[in-house]
């Protein structure tokens, strides 16, 4: 999924009008016009802006508020720009992180979940059923986020069924 699509889907979810606002700098970095005079350059910074806007109404706990932001950077540096070898490292880290958590931050959906979900889509689509099974916590979380229509939008669905083996659904298996 391109950064452009990802940011558009996040904006759709938040019901922010975004049409025609995204473009790229001459260095191929994504940018967004906020108004006639101001634009924001960079994937994390655009999400940072969304997140600050949401915070005005939502009032997340301070610590969680900044913890959410670090997943924007993580998605940017370690999920999006990965080589073949690194994709496993990203899955491994998220899988361990999610061992004791239902959501990336706190007890409900935050922008961190959305951003990691979209950024991870390309990698998840490539995993074999066995790999998905070995990243059990990640799969469970991913499958849950995927099931929320307003988040998924047109994102390609990842299949977690391993029915042909033992009748387990990987993501549901504890």
């Amino acid at each position: 999924m391109t950064v452009e699509t990802e940011i558009t889907r996040v904006a759709n979810y938040l019901k922010f009008p975004i049409k025609g606002k995204l473009s790229y700098t001459e260095d191929n970095i994504i940018q967004m016009n906020i108004n006639a005079n101001e634009k924001i350059i960079g994937f994390s910074s655009i999400l940072n802006y969304f997140h600050n806007e949401v915070q005005k109404k939502d009032n997340q706990h301070v610590q969680d508020f900044y913890q959410t932001k670090q997943f924007f950077d993580f998605a940017n540096l370690f999920i999006r720009s990965t080589s073949k070898r690194d994709k496993y490292a990203a899955c491994l880290e998220l899988n361990s992180y999610l061992e004791s958590r239902s959501y990336l931050i706190g007890q409900r959906i935050s922008l961190a979940d959305l951003v990691v979900f979209y950024s991870l889509n390309d990698i998840m689509l490539q995993l074999s059923p066995l790999e998905k099974e070995s990243y059990l916590n990640l799969s469970r979380w991913y499958s849950y986020i995927q099931s929320i229509e307003t988040i998924r939008q047109n994102t390609k669905e990842v299949n977690f069924s391993t029915i042909h083996l033992l009748g387990w659904n990987t993501a549901a298996h504890v």
Binding site: Y24, I34, N76, Y97, L130, L165
Partner: protein
């Protein structure tokens, strides 16, 4: 709050300064990535709050620290993002060592710094008139490796840099982190599982390009030279008369000189060494020894074969020879292989000598008299038929670990589940030699009381470990972390050094105890005055002991051997620098002695590729700097053809041929113009880089710098075009002479710097130049090119230095050395696959699944459950493959 970081990480400095600006109380802890204090995702530096929450991404941590102090606005956010996603990766690419450099790094970096300068032109700080955390974030990235040194046209950045440098918070933080010259981007390689930031594309590609304007090409920072550098280059380029070093017949320590004793891990005698062994120890040590001698240090380089122990007995049995015959046979093999590789030991000895016996027994008795030896009863397996105690490798049986049950587990480890095994725990053990079932017998063994020595050992390690490679430090720390335990130093074997103690005459010393002492006994074979190296009495003759090895050998050199010597307490020389490599893999698999996979020393000889090419290639892929590396035939050919043949060889040959054809092989007077001085300054940079890398034993970088010199040379010939000016006026002709003579001088410098890595090639170039410069010392303190070939010097006969390695040969070699490898694998996997059909596998999976569900019902521990789950997963994998095959 705590900041966890690995050493030398510039990002940790950023967190520390920001925390100080925010008046937060923080503590800095240096850890490595595997430290259990760090949670997932594992990234360093990591900021831990008092409630245990961890920030693993630094920008978010900075924003958190500055909460309520700075506004979390878009400008700051963009600059923070810019610093970590654009500036840091570009710097990491350019500055860190041991990694291939992205072609775009220079271009990207220059435009980034330019952007920074433009921004600072109109405002005092990056985000406006006040300093912000964005300034700190960017500043910290520009500190290491003197990034800005030698740059010009960035006055605004330099002004801004100075202002921040003088902030009290910055100064305090630097005091905690240590001098900024120690910060480097190589540390990022060990700061996460992704190998740092090298994976980040410097100039990203996007799918849809909407607006794309070509950026203007800025001038390159690295190509700009300071006036001081030019002056120095010019002043240094004078002829110095050749001072020949007199070589003593026997090398002994000299007063007030650097006395360097170099050892390479003793290769075990039972097999032919492979390329990984060669670059890991002997070749790495040899390159350094040659460099050290040329630097004018008083250098002794010893090595030998390690010959005692079980493995020799096994080999002797399998080849039907006596242990002595095996040792003699393999000693010769090792010796000839190293000779072929041009390893210049001052002495290559062996451990089966009477000197070794005397010294080992002497040291043992010293330890015994100090009360450091204890007796403990050990349970061992005795094969009554063979009439001997069975070493771990001599027993096989069923794996005792629950859920494994592998029938051919070895006495030390199970090949199937990978767990360590205590030989007496094997179910149904059998002697590997005669297949009878051994019995358990108690036998008294001698133990070295390491806990008693430990305090002194720790004290000593703290004083020296800074000079060790990172992996050596880490491995040693993990050993010390658990505390040392008494360790068995004897065995019930025949092939070894007898224990000189009543009641223990039938036992011998365990190899780990006697092998390192081999360094001492081998030196004693070399000279009767060996004590001057190993037990120096004279304070003016200080010894630096440098030990080269692969990482598996570290504990013996950092803990065991020093413990013995510290315990003996007779002023023995202890290791100053442990230089340990990671592992070298073969193509994509592992070299394996026992399975015979990969290229071995004798195979290299049979390829017809010269030993110097092997030396060069192995040094340029040396597994250093914390990462394993990989031998690849394609890469070997590519480096030979592009780097040696087209770059270095081409330059030397062009310069010499031109001199021969047009100047009657005579060097002319060199008149330096500003271009020439510029060239010299650039060469001196590479020269300095080469010396620094060699001193740090970073051969990959040293080679990069060396090739940099010939690249500059090629470029010089290309721009000057002496073949054109030769046809012009007299003035132009003499310019052509000057250019060619300078080029020949550069070729001469190259031959000198090449000597440690490729000695015979270096000699070849020197004979073509008609000079011997290997006797001329480097001056590590003064890495500037001087005039080596004077006006009127007559060169020898030029000839091509390297030959092309053809792809057809490479394909042949690949097939030849992988053929056996694949063959082995093929038959093995075919066996296991053939043994089970799809139906059988499905049945097995169902059974295993039921077993797991049963275990879960009973709420067994995870440690018991996990192996079962692993088996299930393995079965499923097999099934999947099987189904794929069937399709």
């Amino acid at each position: 709050m705590i900041i966890y970081t690995n050493a030398s990480n510039p990002l940790a400095l950023k967190l520390l300064i920001v925390a100080k600006l925010a008046k937060k109380n923080v503590e800095l802890k240096i850890v490595n990535l595997n430290d259990t204090a760090i949670g997932e995702p594992r990234h360093l530096p990591c900021l831990e709050l008092d409630d245990g929450t961890q920030f693993f991404m630094t920008d978010a941590a900075v924003k958190f620290l500055m909460h309520g102090i700075e506004e979390d606005d878009n400008t700051r956010s963009q600059w923070l993002e810019w610093s970590t996603t654009r500036l840091a990766p570009a710097l990491a690419q350019k500055m860190s060592v041991g990694h291939r450099v992205d072609q775009n790094a220079n271009v990207a970096l220059n435009s980034l710094v330019k952007l920074l300068d433009d921004t600072l032109k109109t405002s005092s700080f990056i985000t406006g008139s006040k300093i912000s955390s964005a300034d700190i974030a960017i500043w910290c990235l520009l500190t290491p490796n003197a990034t800005l040194e030698g740059s010009h046209n960035i006055e605004n950045v330099l002004r801004w840099y100075k202002v921040i440098e003088n902030l009290p918070e910055v100064k305090e933080s630097i005091e905690i982190v240590g001098p900024i010259k120690n910060l480097n981007f190589s540390s990022l390689l060990q700061c996460n599982r992704f190998g740092g930031l090298h994976h980040v594309e410097l100039i990203p590609h996007i799918a849809e390009l909407e607006t794309k304007v070509l950026a203007e090409t800025p001038s390159l920072i690295s190509e700009t030279i300071l006036p001081a550098e030019l002056e120095l280059a010019k002043a240094s380029f004078v002829y110095e008369s050749v001072k020949l070093k007199e070589e003593a017949r026997t090398i002994l320590p000299k007063a007030n000189e650097r006395n360097i004793l170099i050892t390479s891990a003793l290769p075990y005698v039972n097999n032919v060494p492979h390329l990984g062994n060669i670059i890991g120890c002997v070749l790495s040590a040899d390159i350094f020894a040659r460099y050290s001698r040329m630097s004018g240090y008083n250098t002794l380089f010893v090595c030998g074969t390690d010959e005692y122990g079980t493995a020799t007995e096994t080999k002797a049995l399998s080849e039907n020879l006596t242990c002595k015959q095996i040792c003699d046979k393999y000693f010769e093999i090792h010796n000839s292989i190293y000779r072929w590789f041009g390893i210049g030991f001052d002495y290559f000895g062996r451990t089966t000598t009477k000197e070794q016996t005397e010294i080992v027994q002497g040291l043992f008795l010293d330890l015994y008299n100090q009360g450091l030896i204890e007796t403990q009863a050990v349970e061992q397996l005795l094969c009554q038929k063979c009439d001997r105690f069975l070493a771990d490798r001599f027993v096989e049986g069923t794996c005792p670990h629950i859920g494994c049950g592998y029938e051919d587990a070895r006495g030390d480890q199970c090949d199937k589940c990978g767990k360590l095994i205590n030989a007496i725990e094997l179910i149904r053990p059998r002697c590997k030699v005669c297949n009878t079932s051994p019995v358990v017998r108690q036998s008294d063994q001698l133990f070295l009381n390491l806990p008693k020595i430990e305090p002194k050992l720790r004290e000593w390690i703290e004083t020296v470990e800074n000079e060790w490679t990172n992996n050596a430090k880490t491995i040693t720390k993990s050993w010390l972390k658990e505390g040392l335990k008494t360790r068995c130093i004897t065995r019930d074997l025949k092939w070894g050094i007898p224990v000189p103690l009543k009641g223990y005459e039938s036992k011998v010393f365990y190899v780990w105890f006697d092998a390192p002492i081999g360094y001492i006994s081998i030196t004693s074979k070399y000279t009767k005055d060996w004590k001057e190296w190993w037990q120096p009495k004279d304070d003016s003759k200080k010894i630096e002991l440098l030990q080269f090895m692969a990482k598996d050998n570290v504990p013996f050199h950092s803990v065991m051997f020093p413990s013995t010597l510290i315990g003996v307490n007779k002023g023995h020389t202890l290791v100053s620098r442990i230089i340990s490599t990671e592992y070298l893999n073969y193509e994509s698999g592992k070299f394996s002695k026992s399975r015979g996979i990969g290229v071995f020393g004798n195979d290299a000889q049979n390829t017809g590729i010269e030993s110097d090419i092997w030396r060069f290639y192995l040094a340029s892929i040396r597994p250093e700097g914390g990462q394993d590396s990989c031998f690849s035939w394609d890469d070997l050919a590519a480096r030979n053809n592009s780097e040696l043949l087209n770059n270095l060889g081409n330059f030397v040959n062009r310069a010499l041929m031109f001199c021969e054809k047009n100047f009657k092989s005579t060097i002319s007077d060199i008149t330096l113009n500003s271009d020439d001085v510029n060239l010299l300054a650039l060469i001196n940079r590479e020269y300095k880089g080469y010396i620094l890398s060699m001193e740090k034993v970073r051969y990959r970088d040293a080679i990069r710098h060396l090739l940099g010199i010939s690249r500059h040379g090629n470029l010089y010939l290309q721009t000057e075009q002496p073949w054109v000016s030769l046809k012009g006026t007299d003035e132009q002709k003499s310019r052509a002479g000057s250019v060619i003579s300078l080029a020949c001088n550069i070729a001469c410098l190259i031959s000198k710097l090449l000597f440690p890595i490729m000695p015979s090639t270096s000699r070849k170039i020197q004979s073509q130049l008609n000079i011997d410069v290997t006797q001329i010392t480097f001056s590590p303190s003064k890495p500037q090119m001087s005039l080596l070939l004077k006006n009127g010097h007559i060169i020898g006969k030029p000839a091509p230095i390297f030959t092309k390695i053809e792809q057809s040969d490479i394909d042949k070699f690949k097939k030849k050395y992988a053929g056996e490898q694949n063959g082995n694998k093929g038959t093995k996997s075919a066996e296991t696959k053939a043994s089970k059909t799809v139906e059988e596998l499905e049945k097995a999976i169902e059974e295993q699944g039921n077993k797991i569900r049963g275990l879960k019902k009973n709420k067994v521990e995870k440690s018991v459950l996990q192996p079962e789950i692993n088996i299930l997963l393995a079965l499923k994998k097999d099934l999947e493959e099987k189904k794929k095959q069937a399709q």
